[in-house]
Symmetry: C2
Subunit: 119 residues, 2 copies
Amino acid sequence: MTSVCATGQHDHHDVYAQQCPCRGLLELIANKWTALAVGALAAGPQRFGALQRQLEGVSPKVLTQTLRRLEDANLISRTVYPAVPLHVEYELTEVGWSLTVPLKALRQWVEEHVDEARV
Amino acid sequence: MTSVCATGQHDHHDVYAQQCPCRGLLELIANKWTALAVGALAAGPQRFGALQRQLEGVSPKVLTQTLRRLEDANLISRTVYPAVPLHVEYELTEVGWSLTVPLKALRQWVEEHVDEARV
DNA sequence: CGGTATCCCGTGCGATACTG
DNA sequence: CAGTATCGCACGGGATACCG
């Protein structure tokens, strides 16, 4: 069994439907900036402004949406340091950090097959 | 360096922008059915109708779009057997097959962290 | 059987302006 | 500094009907 969704418990009657456990993750990292934000945070905790500069072209609204979704998914944490001016740090959680491993595998696949695959 | 996009050649000046080589792949598998179609085809060559039944809920138009994109990316091949009724087979290419490896890593991550991460 | 054509809708994304 | 508010558009996706 090598499919994305099937488990060892399943057989050829598998349905790759809405119930697939991959769906949630795929829909999360599917959007434009999420995986890139995780990649940026893999270098260490970052402030909102720093993330916005690294993810070139992202608007503050969209960056906020992206970070909120990651926070809701428990992949990053948001820490506010009450000060003037405001200081907010985003950081990968432990489980968020673990996600960088398969994500990095994906990146390596791209590097290795960028010529064969027209992605 | 553990970020999604940075390579060993890069340093802290990396920009996770539109130029990131991951972007193409992420935008490809980002949509609703692509990764699932790859997963289905990992079980072996499939006909259009069989894919449509496995990817429960997909409309013929969207399935066609999905398969065309995968074909354009050189990840699957489309073979027409001229007969009545028509017989069309979709099959993973070699590079398409190689993609199932990191995709499977992603699935395993989901299974292992489904409780910690609310994806 | 394996699609295309057509219509429609939700939402992800972007630009800009403004605020605690 | 770190967002929110508002507007608008493009596009992915869905339903249905039809075609070679």
